[in-house]
Amino acid sequence: MKIAAKDRMARLIAAIPWIVAQDGASVDDIAERFDYPRDLLLGDLQDVVFFVGVPPYTPDTLIEVTIDDDMVWISYADWFSRPMRLSGAEILSLLAAGETALAFDTQDEAGALARGLTKLRLATGSDANTIDVQLGVGSTDTLPTLRSAASAATCVDISYYSFGRDEHTERRIEPVRFFMDEGNWYVGGYCHRAEAERVFRVDRIDSISKTDVAFSQEPTGSDETFAMADAPRATLHLPVERQRLLDGLPIDDRVDHEHHVVVTVPVASQRWLTQMMVRLGPDAQLVDAPNTISVDLAATAKKILERYVN
């Protein structure tokens, strides 16, 4: 494995304070912790770190590295005695990942994650109110129930609300994959009703119950259904001022012009496309629609307007 000088440096300035704090550590342990190939590590410690210091480069101003058998000791590394500060983005990333995992998993029984997050907050000047990661998890027990069914490989029965189709359905599913996108949790797996792999948004599961029925399928691990690979596509032309309505849509193709945007998006249902065109407004056009779906904006507008006649 070849590692660039800069990347070895990042490892060394993290490893040196750690070795100093441990009062000596084994070569294998250092190699594993800092992802540093053993031979490269030994070479860099003996041939490079040993010569690092500040003028006048007398022994007392040079880092002292002692390697004996399989152990490494480091002393006089005053400048590198503390690890580098975590960047703002790194701290936020750690806290966000930790908070998300806490919400997702009930397995932090020993509380190690919660303790770690608290220490990290204290050391970096944040507190419990400064970061807030909200996830679309719906009812609090839905996600843990899905998770435990996934690890036991047993089916669950769910009542699911499909927003695009505006319908409630009862389904038996085999939960295998979990992921988050645009701040919402999804569960993917075989659906007995569809007789195919499907993806469901967790916060749209109205109710859930466990079963003792084992999975019937080997999971294929495909996330394709999520991108609505088999959904028909429509091409829309909209003024730039209205582009905020595109937030969160899985866009296949997008071309930005000076005053307008042209996008191609998957269409979940006629209802979905109709409401999108109504919201986009008079300056938007449906350039190309699947022939299976017809959108009559004048009739739709008339129908809504009827509700405003008293």
């Binding site: 000088a5 990042a10 490892r11 300035i13 993290a14 490893a15 750690w18 594993e32 912790r33 992802d35 041939d47 010569f51 690092v52 210091g53 500040v54 400048w79 690890p83 500060r85 960047s87 703002g88 983005a89 790194e90 701290i91 990333s93 750690l94 966000a96 990942a97 998300t100 995992a101 997702f104 020993a110 190690a112 994650l113 303790r115 770690g116 220490k119 990290l120 050391a123 970096t124 000047g125 109110n129 400064t130 970061i131 807030d132 990661v133 996830l135 979990f178 992921f179 988050m180 645009e182 701040g183 749209r204 409401q275 008079p282 009559d296 904006l297 507008a301 129908k303 307007l305 405003y308």
Partner: protein
């Protein structure tokens, strides 16, 4: 001299010095730089870039007693080193596991090395159901630093120059938001990070007391605006009332006998309000006030006239 040795020596000297050192001075102290002046310049610039890309804050300041002033370089020890949170091995392993589960795009191994590295590959095996989707941009990192160090953040938003005392970062519905006291408006405000225009600049440390701040109400998009508040009543039919029951607080809705709900909305963004009401098509109607009913009917009339 190898590049690795040169970079380590450069960093050691920059941390050790008590006053800024000129490039020539650093060249002499470190040794091992090319003899040719132009080549030295290029190599030295690249070394500085490498250290900076690792997150080392190299301060440029005038070398004392030089006339005309000469650029000097120094790294402040307290800026370089962080406070060690003192994580126990199980806490670090739990964080590492969380990072494997959630996969935040900006979170690399470097962050864990700084915390002492993680012990075993076995413990970091990706759990079933890896999650993706939290993305942290540069502004999010900068604003989090601002909160931690209580520094005022200046940026442009909605065409207005803001001076924010940031108090809270929220990740919700796939976006980061920052909230706090906006000095420009003298009021609490919420900003969506990807709509900040240009860069975020931070003022000095400890510039304000951090006050508890509300997070964004992304569900209530009609509240995300600067307009004078209008109280509105919207009726949503039973077929689609689930949306309101899932997303709104019980005190914001009245459930009627036929299963439909009345939503009481406090509107400060009329465009977003219209977008929301129309998402229900003919399953929702604005009951009050007349001005917002007209907003919907005028829009629909235009849509109708524009459609072929």
């Amino acid at each position: 001299m190898s590049k690795l040795e040169r970079l380590l020596k450069l960093l050691a000297v920059l941390l050790d010095t008590e006053q800024p050192l000129a490039a020539e001075d650093l060249r002499r102290r470190i040794g091992g730089y090319p003899d040719n002046d132009a080549t030295f310049r290029r190599t030295f610039e690249r070394d500085k870039d490498d250290l900076r890309s690792m997150g080392v804050d190299i301060v440029v300041a005038a070398v004392p007693e030089t006339e005309p002033p000469l650029d000097g370089y120094i790294v402040n020890q307290d800026d370089y080193a962080g406070h060690d949170p003192g994580l126990e091995p199980d806490e670090l392993a739990a964080l590492h596991l969380a990072a494997a589960l959630v996969r935040v795009d900006t979170l690399g191994d470097d962050a864990f090395w700084k915390l002492g590295g993680t012990a075993s590959e076995a413990e970091t095996e990706t759990p079933s159901g890896t999650v993706t989707g939290i993305s942290i941009g540069e502004d999010a990192g900068v604003l989090h630093t601002a909160i931690a160090e209580r520094r005022v953040a200046s940026f442009q938003y909605g065409g207005v120059a803001r001076a924010l005392e940031p108090a809270r970062m929220s990740f919700t519905r796939g976006h980061w938001y920052v909230s706090g006291h906006d000095r420009a408006r003298n009021a609490e405000r919420v900003f969506r990070l990807d709509r900040i225009e240009g860069t975020v600049d931070l003022g000095p440390d400890d510039a304000y007391e951090r006050q508890p701040a509300r997070g964004p109400e992304v569900t209530r998009t009609w509240e995300l605006g600067d307009e004078d508040p209008i109280a509105a009543k919207v009726q949503i039919d039973a077929e689609v009332a689930l949306w309101a029951r899932i997303n709104l607080r019980p005190d914001e809705i009245d459930v009627l006998d036929d299963g439909s709900v009345i939503v009481h909305a406090n509107v400060t963004n009329t465009d977003a309000f219209r977008d929301w009401v129309l998402s229900f098509l003919d399953n929702a109607v604005v009951l009050e006030p007349p001005a917002l009913r007209n907003l919907i009917t005028d829009w629909l009339t235009q849509v109708s006239e524009a459609s072929p």
